[in-house]
Symmetry: C2
Subunit: 518 residues, 2 copies
């Protein structure tokens, strides 16, 4: 079938036009996604209320542990009942606090053309972070370096559907852990002019990142505009620790948004039930969202989660399972119920290599989070082996998949409907459209043509070396990197950033422990 299909009959000049199509590549960032397809809402209003009531009951009667003296004192001041480390949150207090979280906001990049909006129908794709290993340009699994991190920041800069360079996409092992946040942040800022993420590996590290942001954007600008985002994981069930809460304060007091992310391994640290897991996760997210408003009223904040279900055969987290999709649909409904932008995780793979398992897992989750209406679509490129490695091959393929998801989620385009329709009588029964002027004018935009999928006949595929997608993607990544152009930092700011890093590296002892966030 494939190989008998007629090749397009082009008008004169068609061949060179096609060659141009093949050889020039557009690195322009896609605008933030504005979703136009309907939401997949699996709960009716009564079920949303049921989850809300269950979560509020948990907050009032079971309580949440804040392992952090400052947070406990803050909560007392805010009027919560505090017993030891456990904070009991009245639903009235929670509702009052979360009411001041903005329902959407603009996330500013150093290049204002790459600012993106978050909340409501507005979404962004952010690459994965936190991998202790990479699969490199030769598909070798090893510990990453700062150069590897720079490579991923460059790729993130060049892939149109990625709206951020994130932060420690991979963990650079060639620099002391205690100073790493400085180099990671500098790499994010330097190699891309898109938005980036803030390290939250400790309160002090987060303070350093805030200082660097102040150099890049100015303190006054930051007071009014989110310029970075930080992730704070909960220890589900129902615990927030000092590291995360301290980092949260560093960001919130400067008006920078935090992803309040319960860390759910469904069945292990939540009940073995989808709705009950969501009820617990929702209580956890609400407790942190409320705390952001204790720190600073009106500060933007993001309803977060990391979400997997656990294999009861091995105890390992799974990706791409039906319950993860369902929980995403439900969490989206809850976040919208509270009017807060929400974060999800995207193309997670549990496969050890970039095999078909990784493809199924990733695409299933990408579809689900788009139908769920997630706003901050994190871990959108590279994640495999349950986050243990970032794969270069998967990174570029995932990013192209996000571009395809971006197209899908905008719904059908009706602009040229009448004109396109007029081709039908022109062509008539039994004809073909390849030479029709409307086709010639519109084929590049009408149907997405993935670069990394091979759709040739097997004969042509064999003639080109029988390359599976991993090999094609790695060649593609090398080609992209050879075309990379650095979006130069302002010279004075660059110098100030380097001076800051040099000073802090003199001040911070080169400790050696490893710290990660997801």
């Amino acid at each position: 079938m494939t190989d008998t299909l007629a090749r397009p009959r082009a008008r004169s000049g068609g061949r060179s036009a096609r060659r141009t199509l093949r050889t020039t590549r557009d690195f322009t960032m896609l605008p933030g996604l504005t979703r136009a397809i309907p939401l997949c809402e699996v709960m009716d209003g009564a079920q949303v209320e049921k989850i809300d009531a269950a979560s509020m009951d948990i907050l009032e009667n079971v309580g949440v542990v804040f392992r952090d003296p400052i947070a406990l004192e803050d909560w007392k001041q805010a009027g919560a009942k505090v017993e030891g480390e456990r904070v009991y949150l009245d639903r009235g207090l929670v509702r009052d606090l979360i009411a001041t979280i903005p329902s959407d906001f603009t996330y500013s990049a150093r290049n204002p053309a790459k600012n993106v909006r978050l909340g409501g129908p507005h979404s962004i794709f952010v690459p994965m972070t936190g991998a202790p290993f990479l699969r490199d340009l030769d598909d070798v699994r090893r510990n990453p370096t700062l150069d590897d991190l720079a490579m991923f920041h460059k790729l993130a800069h060049m892939m149109p559907a990625l709206h951020s360079s994130a932060h420690h996409i991979v963990e650079p092992y060639d620099h002391p852990i205690s100073q790493r946040h400085l180099r990671i942040t500098y790499s994010s800022m330097k190699h891309s002019d898109k938005t980036f993420m803030a390290m939250t590996t400790s309160p002090k590290n987060a303070e350093d990142v805030m200082a660097m942001c102040a150099i890049l954007f100015g303190e006054d600008f930051m007071e009014q505009n989110p310029v970075t985002t930080g992730n704070c994981n909960g220890n589900s069930p129902l615990v927030w620790d000092e590291t995360m809460l301290g980092a949260m304060r560093a960001l919130c007091k400067r008006n920078q948004p935090v992803l309040c992310s319960p860390f759910v391994l469904g069945g292990a640290n939540t009940p073995a039930s989808v709705p009950a897991s969501v009820a617990q996760l929702n209580a956890e997210a609400l407790s942190a969202l409320a705390y952001t408003q204790v720190i600073r009223r009106g500060c933007p904040a993001i309803y977060g989660h990391y979400l997997s279900t656990v294999s009861m055969k091995s105890g390992a987290p799974m990706a791409g399972t039906p319950e993860i999709s369902l929980m995403n649909f439900m969490i989206g409904q809850m976040a919208r119920h509270y009017g807060v932008p929400w974060r999800t995780s995207n193309t997670l793979g549990g496969a050890k290599t970039f095999d078909a398992q990784a493809g199924y897992e990733s695409a299933t989750t990408l579809s689900a989070v788009l139908h769920a209406g997630a706003n901050y679509i994190w871990h959108s490129a590279g994640w495999n082996e349950a986050g243990m490695h970032c794969s270069v091959a998967k990174f570029v393929v995932d990013a192209e998949q996000c571009a395809m998801g971006h197209r899908m989620a905008q719904g059908p385009q009706w602009g040229d409907f009448d004109q396109a329709l007029s081709a039908v009588p022109d062509v008539g029964p039994g004809g073909h459209y390849l030479g029709h002027p409307h086709t010639q004018d519109n084929f590049q935009t009408a149907f997405f043509m993935p670069e990394l999928f091979d759709n040739n006949s097997i004969e042509q595929w064999v003639a080109e070396g029988s390359k599976e997608i991993t090999q094609r993607a790695l060649e593609h990544a090398r080609k992209l990197l050879s075309e990379y152009q650095e979006p130069k930092l302002d010279v004075a700011k660059d110098e100030e950033l380097r001076d800051f890093i040099a000073r802090r590296e003199r001040e911070i002892p080169a400790a050696d422990e490893l710290n990660q966030d997801y």
Copy 2:
């Protein structure tokens, strides 16, 4: 992360319970899917009307070619304007005719426990058919035999989410083409007691299949009950040929449903526009659906399509693209607008091997067709290389993915919500749920555990031989086949079927051409 996660602490007996979980496998067919998640409807009412009006304009003003004297005569009798081979269908006539197509029906299997319902929220998964090659149990690509076909029918019988053994999953090259339909049909009937499909490769072949169905089910039963389905492809744009129309008549006059399937290569045989492609496809489907009712009023019929978009770089059909998803959403809306069950294609892959490309393509389409609310979800297992081969490895993985989609599309389960929620205060902040009685009682049903995804740590994966999914799936397929138990045909019917085949093989010359449908 993976490898530091605590393994489930089981109650006494937990280990042997887990071993049981691993070693006993349930081959019971899942019930037909009854969708409980909301539909993804990307058109508003006015846009549905716009497509409908555009399609009706095409039918009235451009017309449809029926390359078949009997059909042309039938249309004249029915009151259509016929000029040469072109039939102009008035919208009133079309609406009147399609009004008698049942909106849902029961599709009967020889084992009544495996009857399935089609239409409205009721859907079934049917494996791929028509592959001229297979990738076999050693992943070798070669021409298939009747034994290979039997193997796929056995696998279809054993995979719980597949509701049909289809027909020529692969094309058995070791038997003369002119007699092949007899052996294919017998293989479908013999190796599985699920529903199966009717060969429509010629009107006479379809008549033979009807005769075999009459032996298996009885003519009277068939008069009242659909016992098979036949696919009839259109030659888009706007042509139906004699082979397909004759086969259609063979089925319809016996009250058996036909899939009326325009064969769309978006951009090549439709305009380069998603809505205009749907308008043309809709006109084509309506013309055939209307003709089924000319043949026999009230006969069940299915709104069909084969759908890909075409790469303007190579002319090849693509799979898993955003526009295929969007067209599925729209076609679903049109079929529901007319109150007719509809067919789609599911896990199509264009990859040459079972690599990550195949995974992305397949999972993207599976998600889309579930959100689109498709009823007859064809090509749900095995399809790769744009249908040129059926892969054993992909067959079993796709079938498991369908089971996962089946679970997802049923939405969250609330039955044990209160009980599950009561585990939250039991466990409390910082605890874990693995030993909780609710978890122990529910973990097997709460979260889907795919057998063919590996979620172990890399160390364990390496210790087990570093097997990618293709190898694991092939081992799984071998194991399944070793456990196959034939659902025996009634001895008298079996004898009658064999006698019929023997007689027909004496009557039919052993011709040699190749004929396929998709």
